[in-house]
């Protein structure tokens, strides 16, 4: 059985090349792995090694020939014991590989085909928000986060917490207060200050069957770890054809605190919300914090959980029921209204509610939506609101360019264009690194007045 040796491609983009030099001649015995010729492109020279063994029966392309197309037969190898003259002419047979060669199977390959992708599946919130009529207790966001973790850790032995200062120090912001005492050092683990390393270690632990909660002292430091979060945690399920789930929660304070300067004050909402394979949550109230963190820990996917340092000490009513869990992907109408929709997340929800009170004094009835989940995004609830109010103001602390507000504006073009009476307004942090000086910092971050102004401009009142 003879074999044709074909002109190989050096890269996926190569279509032809020069056969620069033959290292063998007719009659030579060739072993697999032996260099038989050299080819050249505009980028590189490469040696071609034989894959099959045999005797060189015919050289079909002389050395020095330019513009030899990829997959052109360049020589014929005769198998052991086969006489050279037995070898068929190349035209007669393309050799044993013919059945699968690209020439005989053009339909199997092809940038030429322009098959359009099937539509994306429609994502609905996984469940309705439970109607809760039981007892409520007053609790800070900090306590709500701690209780969410401890309740889930009691329920599931594979849940553990790791991060800088989470154990002995009781949390840099005291979120993990008491957890070391209750769960011990096996499950509440102080890490060295190596975000990239412990984020990756957490991903490996999740692949290995655990459910890590990885605390970043702030999400600013998670930039050190973002490769592991996106390339390893978010993408591996897809790249493995569904084999490698990564149930992990990355949590910690996000955005500005108070006068901590530009490196410690960035909002990462739009960064992570951009990435398929992640869930991204941003709670405002203590009830959000508890219900969503429990949902995040139970979720079989990587979850980015964006907290806010200033909110940690704020008190809210929280359902007492330890089985209170919020659905991921569901926004909440915090204040119904009919004139303008204001969307916000995290600390900006409180500011939006204050702005709504202010707007009421001007006779403007604002509806405030707490987004809560940035991926998946509850477009349905916002569109339904805009169909009612015909105006939308987006509020976020982060930068305006390519921010959550930009996405909202685009979504409204897709889903609510005919219902808008005015362009979507964006209230966002100024497009600058956050300054330290008290006056400048205040000017750089969205304030209640900015929201009021934007809403009044939107409704033109």
């Amino acid at each position: 059985m003879s074999t044709n040796v074909l002109m190989p491609a050096l890269s996926p983009t190569m279509t032809e090349g020069k056969l620069a030099k033959w290292h063998v001649k007719v009659g030579d015995d060739v072993k697999s792995g032996q260099v038989i010729c050299e080819i050249e492109t505009d980028k590189a020279t490469m040696e071609v090694e034989a894959v099959d063994e045999g005797k060189v029966a015919k050289i079909l392309v002389e050395e020095g020939t330019e513009g030899v197309a990829v997959n052109t037969p360049i020589c014929v190898l005769a198998a052991d014991g086969e006489s050279v003259s037995d070898a068929p002419a190349p035209q007669a047979s393309a050799g044993p590989r013919a059945s699968g060669s690209p020439q005989s199977e053009p339909e199997a390959r092809g940038p030429e085909k322009h098959e359009s992708p099937p539509p994306a599946p429609v994502v609905h919130a996984s469940a309705r928000e439970p109607e809760y009529s039981g007892k409520m207790v007053k609790m800070t966001v900090r306590e709500a986060l701690r209780d969410a973790m401890s309740e889930e850790m009691r329920k599931d032995g594979s849940v553990f917490l790791m991060g800088e200062e989470v154990a002995q120090y009781q949390g840099a912001y005291k979120v993990s207060q008491g957890l070391l005492e209750e769960f011990g050092e096996k499950r509440v683990i102080d890490t060295p200050i190596t975000e990239h390393g412990f984020a990756g270690l957490g991903v490996g632990a999740a692949f290995g069957g655990l459910r890590p909660i990885v605390e970043f002292m702030t999400f600013n430091f998670a930039m050190q770890a973002i490769d592991q979060i996106i390339n390893s945690a978010a993408k591996t399920l897809y790249m493995s054809g569904g084999q490698m789930g990564c149930p992990i929660v990355f949590r910690g304070p996000n955005g500005a605190a108070s006068r901590v300067g530009a490196q410690h004050s960035q909002c990462y909402a739009s960064w992570y919300a951009h990435v398929p394979g992640l869930r991204v949550l941003a709670p405002w109230s203590a009830a959000d914090a508890k219900g969503l963190l429990k949902a995040a820990i139970r979720d079989p996917n990587p979850v980015i959980f964006l907290e806010n340092e200033i909110l940690y000490g704020q008190q809210f009513d929280v359902p007492e029921d330890p089985d209170f869990v919020l659905p991921i992907g569901k926004a909440k109408i915090e204040r119904p209204g009919k004139d303008v929709t204001i969307t916000a997340f995290s600390i900006m929800v409180g500011k939006a509610l204050q702005a709504a009170d202010e707007l009421a004094k001007h006779g403007i009835d604002a509806e405030v939506i707490n987004l809560r989940s940035l991926r998946p995004f509850d477009t349905e609830t916002i569109v339904a609101s805009v169909k009612k109010t015909n105006h939308l103001v987006s509020v976020e602390e982060g930068w305006p360019f390519a921010g959550i507000g930009s996405e909202l504006a685009a979504l409204m073009m897709d889903h609510a264009f005919d219902y808008l009476d005015a362009p979507v307004k964006r209230v966002a942090g100024l497009d600058i690194p956050l300054p330290y000086a008290a006056n400048l910092e205040k000017m750089a971050l969205p304030q209640v007045d900015n929201i009021v102004e934007a809403a009044r401009a939107a409704v033109n009142r």
Partner: protein, 346 residues
């Protein structure tokens, strides 16, 4: 594009390499035969992958393992099926050694639905939960913290398993590798760091990239023991691997094995290999080849004769031929696969 050719410096002295236990009686003839067979299977598989790449049937990046076969085959002989394995993007050999089906591996290379990732991963991104093979990672060094996390999970679960975490000499300069080593030593995690030192991170030699070229010493700051191993000798690899596995399973924490090996092919398919001399490549091929070396031993010890060797050749040719056939005829993934596996349960 063409860079000036540079002559690599002399190879690092092999004097630090602990000698293999030559004539090790603990290795049975059947084990030797099995190592030979697996190494040859990897070699022939990779040659065929290179050929399919040349025909345009494999796209993108494709990093061949030819020359390094003894490392993964020797290490595999020291673990059981519950131990975790993780490596970089030069991963085809690891998958075959772990017992994954060559058909599924080759079909992933051709981007077909019969591939381990249904065609959605490619050469660098394949996994098998069943075989505890955790990839296949495309970011240099990223598998090292992940492999350390797999060891963390073993320890947390309280089992006696280890994590074999492979990386190359190129990865050995990544910061996250040292972050992981620190935590592994601090928490005594059962991880074995196997540095496959094939002397070039892409086109840059170890001497040109690394201040301390004895990579087995790179854990010294964390108190991690390490040794240099002749990675071209499957029995030397096995002997060192047994010491490392015993260390890790004994609760003593991580261990470093620097496998001194060599890749015959370029970094990836489009590598013109101008950074090293043909003489250097030929010297390894002709004098140090791990498969030739073991084959000679099998003949010398009369474990296999010519006819038996030919029979193994034929068997492997068939396995690889079948894999290539399967990889070319398995259908491309259905367009609906675009949207699957983004999230669990969504």
């Amino acid at each position: 594009m063409a860079k000036p050719a540079t002559k690599p410096k002399a190879a690092p002295s092999a004097a630090k390499t602990k000698p293999a236990k030559a004539g090790d009686n603990s290795v049975s003839p059947d084990e030797l035969k099995s190592y030979y067979r697996t190494m040859l299977l990897i070699r022939r598989f990779e040659e065929r992958a290179g050929q399919l790449y040349g025909m345009g049937l494999i796209g993108g990046f494709c990093h061949l393992y030819i020359g390094q076969e003894a490392v993964v085959v020797g290490m595999q002989s020291t673990i059981d099926g519950k131990d975790a394995i993780i490596t970089s993007y030069r991963d085809h050999g690891h998958m075959i050694a772990a017992g994954m089906d060559p058909k599924g591996v080759m079909a992933e290379l051709t981007g077909r639905s019969g591939g381990y990732s249904h065609g959605k991963g490619g050469s660098m991104h394949m996994f098998s939960r069943e075989k505890n093979f955790y990839g296949g990672h495309g970011i240099v060094g990223a598998q090292v913290p992940i492999g350390t996390g797999l060891a963390f999970a073993h320890k947390y679960h309280g089992n006696k398993n280890v994590s074999l975490t492979y990386f190359g000499d190129g990865s050995a300069n990544q910061g996250q590798v040292y972050e992981a080593m620190n935590m592994a030593a601090l928490w005594k995690l059962p991880v074995i760091y196997i540095i496959e030192n094939n002397r070039y991170g892409m086109g840059t030699s170890v001497e040109r990239s690394t201040a301390v070229t004895e990579l087995y010493k790179h854990g010294e700051a964390f108190g991690i023991p390490g040794e240099a191993v002749d990675g071209m000798d499957v029995l030397a690899v096995r002997a060192a691997g047994e010491r490392a596995v015993e260390h890790a399973k004994g609760g003593n924490g991580p261990y470093i094995l620097e496998m001194q090996t060599y890749r015959y092919r370029g970094h990836s398919m489009s590598d013109p290999a101008k950074y090293r001399s043909k003489e250097e490549v030929d010297k390894y091929r002709n004098e140090r080849d791990p498969i030739d070396h073991l084959k000679a031993r099998l003949i010398e010890q009369k474990i296999l004769d010519d006819a038996q060797l030919k029979a193994i050749d034929a068997e492997i040719r068939k396995i690889v031929g079948d894999a290539a056939e399967f990889a070319q005829h398995s259908p491309e993934p259905d367009p609906s696969e675009l949207w699957t596996d983004v999230l669990v349960g969504a």
